[in-house]
């Protein structure tokens, strides 16, 4: 880093704003024409959009139903559990950023300030208070991580491993009615909460399955290979929606009588099985990029097959495909919207019920623009942050 700074950048041509305009906008007749067309499109789109957003649109449908969009029918008096879980996640995030991504200032500031920025949305005073607390928790976590990076590393990893079970436990609760944490049935989970849980569970569980399938596909054992290939190609050949329908409609037929599987769990299983097939292909790509010399060297060092895989090959292969995995994560996040078609109340499902409220009929544009905005901000945010971190951490390239 310091070395680079000492070398001065090459001299560049300096030009004024007119020269810049001339070069970049009116370089040739074609460019000039295109620029004018482009300017017209931008003008038309921006004025149209702004006029609509500020004069026509009725955003009340969003502000009134904000809680439904976020957590669905999750009981109001139990919401503190979700805030608690989120606080834990924020603390871990702050911690991890300070330990492993010290120089990623942009990512750090964006992530830690995100909850505080959300207060700009028309939340009530209660959620706003919580959001500020979330940001503060993140900053505290960051401060602690910054002061003791070495000592904390292991426990933070442990914390991340615990975070999902903890999140699920807090969301679901464990005491019977009347206790401090009464069970909240999965039929009440909804909105962004459900979308988020489906995505995280889907990705986490599909990851090991995907790795096994990828290894299976490269296996020398014909039957294992065949089974993996059939599975991967079957799943990749059919639309996700058919798998959701299978899970909701046909699964009961395959089970012994009176066995039931929770609807949300079914959707989670469907996402997992679907995403595993795609992940397997990504992992296979990563495995193929590892030169044969690595296998041979590992063998020469006396490592057996499993050790070679676990200690030599997989770490390199997975590191190589981290950007692709982030892409996969975003794809799964967007795909979970399909559960609305099988009747679950995820972000899109909730949007449909909100639109059925007598007070807010015919406001499809407002609601779907709002939902799209949530999807867009989160997807784009994830890909932007991962790019930031990839550059700083040097993942994705060897």
């Amino acid at each position: 880093m310091t070395q680079e700074n000492s070398i001065l950048p090459p001299l560049t041509e300096r030009f004024g704003i007119l020269r810049w305009l001339r070069k970049n906008l009116f370089g040739s007749w074609l460019d000039a024409a295109l620029t004018i067309i482009g300017a017209f499109i931008i003008y038309w789109a921006v004025t149209g959009l702004l006029t609509w957003a500020f004069t026509v649109a009725e955003w009340k449908v969003v502000s009134v139903n904000l809680r439904l969009f976020m957590v669905g029918q999750y009981p109001l008096q139990q919401l503190w559990r979700l805030w608690l879980a989120l606080g834990f996640l924020m603390f871990l995030t702050g911690n991890s950023l300070a330990i492993w991504a010290r120089r990623s200032y942009v990512a750090t500031i964006l992530l830690l300030a995100f909850p505080a920025l959300l207060t700009l949305l028309p939340f009530g005073s209660e959620p706003r208070k919580w959001l500020i607390i979330l940001s503060l928790t993140g900053v505290i976590g960051w401060g602690i991580g910054w002061s003791k990076p070495q000592a904390l590393g292991r426990s933070v990893i442990f914390g991340w491993i615990l975070s999902l079970p903890m999140f699920l436990l807090l969301t679901r609760g464990f005491t019977p009615e009347g206790g401090t944490m009464p069970i909240v049935g999965t039929n009440l989970w909804g909105g962004l909460l459900l979308t988020f849980l489906l995505t995280v569970v889907g990705i986490l569980f599909s990851f090991p399955l995907g790795v096994f399938l990828a290894l299976g596909r490269r296996s020398e054992l014909p039957i294992i290979r065949l089974a993996s290939v059939i599975y991967i190609e079957l799943v990749r050949g059919v639309p996700l929606i058919t798998i959701f329908f299978m899970a909701q409609l046909m699964l009961p037929l395959f089970l012994p009588p009176n066995w039931t599987v929770d609807r949300i769990l079914r959707a989670m299983v469907a996402v997992t099985l679907f995403s595993a097939a795609y992940l397997a292909e990504n992992v296979r790509g990563g495995l193929q990029a590892i030169p044969k010399g690595q296998f041979e060297a590992a063998h020469a060092l006396g490592l057996n097959g499993a050790q070679t895989m676990v200690y030599i090959i997989l770490p390199q292969a997975l590191r190589l495909i981290i950007p692709i995995l982030v892409g996969q994560f975003i794809a799964v996040f967007k795909d979970t919207a399909l559960v609305a078609i099988v009747g679950l109340f995820d972000l899109v499902g909730i949007a449909k019920t909100v639109l059925a409220q007598p007070d807010f009929l015919g406001l499809q544009r407002e609601v779907y623009v709002f939902i799209s905005l949530i999807y867009w901000v989160l997807s784009y945010g994830m890909s932007y942050l991962s790019q930031q971190l990839e550059v700083k951490l040097g993942v994705g390239n060897r």
Partner: protein, 393 residues
Amino acid sequence: MQESAKQKATIPFWRDERILNILGQVVFIIGLLFIGSLIYQNMKAGLARQGISLSLNFLKGISGFDIAETLLPYSRTSSYWRAFQIGLLNTLSVSIVGVIASTVFGVILGVARLSTSFLINRLAAFYLELIRNLSLLVFLIFWYLGVFLKLPRVKEAVIWPGSIFLTNRGVGIPWGLPTDSYQTFRLILIVGLILAVGVFFLFQSYSKRTGRAPLTTLWTLLTFVIVGVVGWFILPEKPLTFDAPVIEGLNMTGGKVLSPEFMALTSGLVLYTSAFIGEVVRSGILSVSKGQVEASRALGLNGFQTLRLIVFPQALRVIIPPLTSQYLNLIKNSSLAIAVGYPDLFYISNAIQNQSGRAVEMFSLVMITYLMFSLITSVFMNWYNRRIKLVER
């Protein structure tokens, strides 16, 4: 088995990898079969309780429901099988329109993304980022409920020049109605096609002999068009009369009415897929090394020639594989028609399944059909890919 293994390897059989491998696979198969049979038994028992046995005979039964958009004759007395065929054709038509339109649009976007005009470049980049981070389902629903159903009512239809009617019952466009001379005209078109193929091969052999690169595709198309146009005018009666839509009673009649469901589905799919194709095209063009362009300019080729003869053929090799998977995604994503009420394959199969209660059969049928789509597309694109592949020494 154990005996021979011991003798050969002089290690106990439970540590002999060859045997363990085979054993492992056998256990795997047995496990799979066991679970498979368990499921099969459960399913059979479940179906038996309802008094149903697995068979496809129910497809001959009368469907009893009506379908909005049919490319084949259909009524409520038609069979389930016919309904299924209609769904299949609808999926095909959406897919074909979608693939063609999103390719065109995607290439434009990809090139625009590389434009030297700063504004166009940024605009394309913004579009790509915008679309790629949206959920397709939400996007489709938005197009349906937020755009096409918000068009004016039939009575207040907006009419664009060329008799294009915009209403919330669909977009009406003029459409050709065949007249008596249509049969002759079709023959002329076939002749034109044969001629065009002839021209194509003529130019190819010329190109091989001389090493020059004539505009083969252009001339082939031109031949066909010229024959068509000449045929159109020499016939005593116009082979097609243009029928513009009119508003009559409750709906539009005449012309061709593209339903809001179809419009929403295709425009949503096209705009979504083209963003991905644009990215594919961009990376394909970027993959051609700059030296190639410089060299071709040094040889005296102009900009268009460079693009057509040097850059594009090389870029195509990089583009084809990811393009194939985008096409496959489009076909699979067309199953989201169910969200906007367009009667595609999945939608109609779901309706059949609802009315007949035959979930297992219908789902098997649907999955096989989609697998076939995927398979055929892959085979075709692989064939094309092999054809344009660089011949390596």
